[in-house]
């Protein structure tokens, strides 16, 4: 293993010393040539999962080579770069590499931006303006991307496949009828029902007895990767989408492992957890982080079929849903310019045969294709669908939210005032054909990483069929889900992005400096990309007609980079600075409940730590939520009053669920890392909140057993 690594390092060092790497290089080096190869190995081991093998960036992770990097870091110093990565990186294991490793990574990044090695060793105290030694000329081999040979060699062997084989006893196939009318004790899909309520009718746990909750069992999950999971429960069996694309079946009453399939690949990315599985008939479906869709035999865990949703580096995190025997799946990883635009696709649930595709990027020559300022399809990035959709069986319509365009800022992506369909829109699709019934674009031409991608919650009031959703801007929207007509909006927290939201039409007017933005200028946004609202989904408590919404209160300054319009470029292409939302007394967490009929606020409260889980509410009138500071809380649905809380091992992160086995109600919740912006921003803003670098875990609570 050592010899392999040494060979890789030597080859790398030679590559960087080769004449081609000297092109465009500037002053004499501030790092030694041997630091490049070591730094490259460290980079591939710790950084490439997010920033890419070619340093091109992805998701929330900026490019680390080229024009954007130099615009962000050229005026700053090597010391500042070292300080930044040694404090903030790698995500989930911040500050835990050796000082030498951080220095070597810094050297590697300088070399990848055209800096020339010299004789001195770069350390954390080396203090030279980066623009004086690097010019952003990316060596050809860096552009091509490195193979993570060194990283793979340094890891323990990984087992894949069906690593624990057994049979779920008496498995009951999941029917279409069960999906429409789930059994009270089951949690069969992402938000439990097709309407996306995150509501369990179970009523054994109530405000009067919730204080007696106790831990019944726990399960250690894989470390590494992002954990934002929804446990799926059917007939006393829990199907868990563990990190590293591992699927497990557990006895939901005892926590006993029944089977395990380590599909892989092993997570190297601190973003993009698989949020959910789906069940249908005798199969469990998982869309993996490398954009493949697998059907496993639910009783045994063996792979029945798998298909590729899109080629790498595309991925999938939102989870899948099954409608009429078709598996519907979204896509993410569309940050960089490529020949494949983001899309939603459907597959035959029995065979995996591809059925239909709907491009969430309106492409040239198609309806809406003229909304991208004449950019070619290959330069239309983003519009990911990283949250699973919802479905109205009566209207036979599935509803999906679409994320923002990339690069984040309109000046960077050169779309300026264009609306860039179908970014930040609600899509209403026919699940049988994939045809668009209607769309409503909430914030056209958005440019501050303010997704409107989250859950579309379907709520009826008499004959009025509505859809409610809320995005990072914190605006709660109500639409007529038959026609897509705007019905109303509420600003759930302070925002300074829109100078006006038309109460009749919902049309937004951006603050003038947002409209007139230029690259390399700081633009403010309250709330910022943490949200407002993010992936921590709402709960619609039907008995009380309350929509309970987790919110975060932080702001950013964002500075867009110049971006080359060429394949592989693009990305998020912006720098960020963070600050507390004015007037919140540093309370980043806010929970608010709205009466959905008239959109009036029922109650709200704030706390220092933001919430990192979805809300689940129950027929017993209790809601559950977890936070960044490890607290898992139960509160009264009607008042918001905290009824019970306990502190867990790490940030309480994921999608809590409620289920029952043998007549007993359980609450399951996970702790985890890799929560994306909702975890990243408080990591910077709340240094007094200390968290462990491990601790991905599943906890299951219930009331004490009788007698």
């Amino acid at each position: 293993m050592r010899s392999t690594r040494a060979l890789v390092m030597s080859i790398t060092a030679l590559m960087f010393l080769a004449p081609g790497y000297a092109n465009g290089q500037r002053a004499s080096g501030v790092f030694a040539s041997e630091q490049i190869s070591v730094g490259q190995s460290e980079y591939l081991e710790n950084c490439a999962g997010c920033h890419g093998n070619n340093l091109s960036g992805g998701n929330d992770s900026p490019a680390l080579a080229g024009k954007g990097f130099m615009q962000s870091w050229g005026p700053r110093t090597t010391k500042a770069l070292y300080q930044f990565i040694s404090t903030a990186m790698p995500v989930g294991n911040e500050g835990n590499l050796s000082s030498g490793a951080y220095a070597d990574i810094t050297a590697f990044l300088l070399a990848a931006n055209g800096a020339k090695p010299g004789s001195q060793i770069l350390t954390g105290s080396t203090d030279v303006r980066i623009g004086s030694v690097a010019d952003g000329e990316v060596p050809a081999d860096v552009q091509k991307g490195f193979q993570p040979a060194g990283a793979a060699a340094s890891r323990p062997p990984e087992r894949h496949g069906l690593t624990v084989a057994a049979m779920v006893p008496r498995y009951t196939p999941v029917t279409d009828e069960m999906l429409v009318h789930p059994a009270e004790g089951d949690w069969l899909m992402y938000r439990r029902n097709y309407q996306g309520w995150s509501y369990s009718p179970l009523a054994q746990i109530t405000p009067s007895n919730v204080g007696a909750l106790q831990l019944k069992w726990s399960w250690a999950m894989n470390e590494g990767g992002a954990s934002e999971v929804t446990p799926i429960v059917h007939d006393g069996v829990m199907f868990l989408s563990n990190t590293s694309n591992t699927v497990q079946a557990l006895n939901a009453k005892t926590g006993e492992l029944i089977w395990e399939n380590r599909i892989g690949p092993v997570a190297t990315v601190a973003y993009g957890g698989t949020r959910s599985l789906a069940l249908y008939r005798d199969k469990v479906y998982v869309a993996t982080t490398d954009a493949k869709l697998y059907a496993l035999d639910a009783p045994t865990g063996r792979v029945v079929w798998h298909v590729e949703i899109a080629p790498p580096p595309k991925g999938e995190t939102g989870g899948v849903m099954v409608i009429h025997g078709k598996v519907l799946v979204g896509m993410m990883g569309c940050d960089n310019y490529s020949t494949v635009n983001c899309h939603i696709s459907a597959y035959d649930a029995q065979t995996g045969k591809p059925d239909w595709v709907f491009y969430t990027t309106a492409r040239e020559g198609t309806p809406g294709g003229d909304t991208w300022n004449s950019l070619p399809d290959t330069m239309r990035a983003g519009t990911d669908t990283w949250i699973a959709g919802t479905y109205d069986p009566e209207l036979n319509t599935t509803y999906w939210g679409v994320a923002q365009a990339k690069p984040w800022m309109r000046a960077s992506r050169q779309t300026y005032g264009a609306s860039v369909l179908y970014s930040n829109a609600t899509l209403a699709l026919d699940p049988d054909t994939g045809k668009l019934k209607w769309y409503y674009q909430h914030i056209p031409g958005e440019s501050l990483d303010l997704d409107e991608v989250f859950e579309r919650v379907l709520i009826d009031h008499g004959s009025q069929k509505t859809l409610m959703t809320i995005g990072k801007d914190g605006v709660l929207w109500k639409l007529d889900r038959v026609s897509g007509k705007f019905l109303g909006e509420k600003e759930t927290l302070f925002q300074n992005i829109f100078s006006k939201i038309d109460a009749k039409t919902g049309e937004v007017t951006y603050r003038p400096d947002i409209v007139n933005q230029k690259t390399n200028e700081w633009i403010a946004s309250c709330p910022g990309p943490e949200g407002g609202h993010d992936w921590q989904s709402t709960s619609y408590n039907q008995p009380s007609d309350l929509l309970i919404i987790p919110l975060s209160q932080s702001c950013i300054l964002m500075r867009g980079h110049d971006v080359d319009l060429k394949l592989g470029s693009g990305g998020t292409a912006a720098s960020e600075l963070f600050y507390f939302m004015p007037g919140t007394h540093r309370n980043m967490g806010k929970l608010v409940a709205y009466n959905t009929k008239d959109m009036t606020e029922a109650w709200s409260f704030q706390q220092h730590a933001p919430f990192l889980t979805a809300v689940v509410s129950t027929g017993g009138g209790v809601a559950f939520i977890g936070d960044f500071d490890r607290m898992f809380k139960a509160l009264d649905v009607k008042t918001g009053r905290i009824l019970w809380q306990t502190r867990l091992g790490n940030t309480v992160q994921g999608y809590p669920v409620s289920f029952s086995v043998d007549g007993k109600q359980y609450i399951a919740v996970t702790t985890g890392l890799g929560g994306g912006s909702p975890e990243q921003k408080p990591t910077t803003l709340l240094p007094e909140v200390h968290r462990a670098s491990t601790g991905q875990q599943l906890y299951v609570f219930a009331l004490p057993d009788a007698g």
Partner: protein, 149 residues
């Protein structure tokens, strides 16, 4: 029989003016927490500190007072600034006085024009405190109307 005496209209107006003058010219109170200025994780340790700022508007005269503590380097300057909206950084209107230490006080008196008064009333004025380690902003306090604060 009681005779009702009607005061002359001018006198009524005068009395009313005297009675209500203090109310109509009542000073407005504003305030906010001194929070860390925009930063990333590499500059976070340079922008620590706590404090509060109070402001009283009487006519066009804004009196500012505040305190701060726990800065990681001595305060250098303080300014009253105006942004396009609350939370949107802007430009300086006036310099304030700040103790040149890690703990201290901020004070100042500023005559505002109508545009600046309007900005104050919509929350777009803020006090920025600079320090040796954070010369472009260590802390800021957005001034909110005390009734809504």
């Amino acid at each position: 029989m009681m005779t009702r005496i009607r005061a002359p209209r001018a006198a009524t107006c005068l009395i009313s003016a005297i009675l209500f003058a203090p109310l109509s010219a009542a000073a407005q109170q504003f305030g906010g927490d001194l929070d860390p200025a925009p930063h990333d994780i590499s500059t976070r340790d340079n922008v620590v500190g706590n404090g509060t700022v109070h402001a009283t508007l009487s006519g066009d005269a804004l009196h500012i007072s505040g305190n701060f503590s726990g800065l990681s380097s001595p305060a250098t300057t303080a300014h009253l600034k105006m942004g396009a909206a609350m939370g949107v950084p802007g430009t300086a209107i006036s310099e304030l006085t700040a103790t040149r230490a890690a703990d201290g006080e901020i004070s100042g008196d500023v005559a505002l024009d109508q545009n600046e008064i309007a900005a104050l009333n919509k929350g777009a004025l803020y006090v920025e405190l600079d320090s040796a380690k954070a010369p472009d902003g260590n802390s800021w306090a957005w001034l909110e109307n005390a009734e809504g604060h």
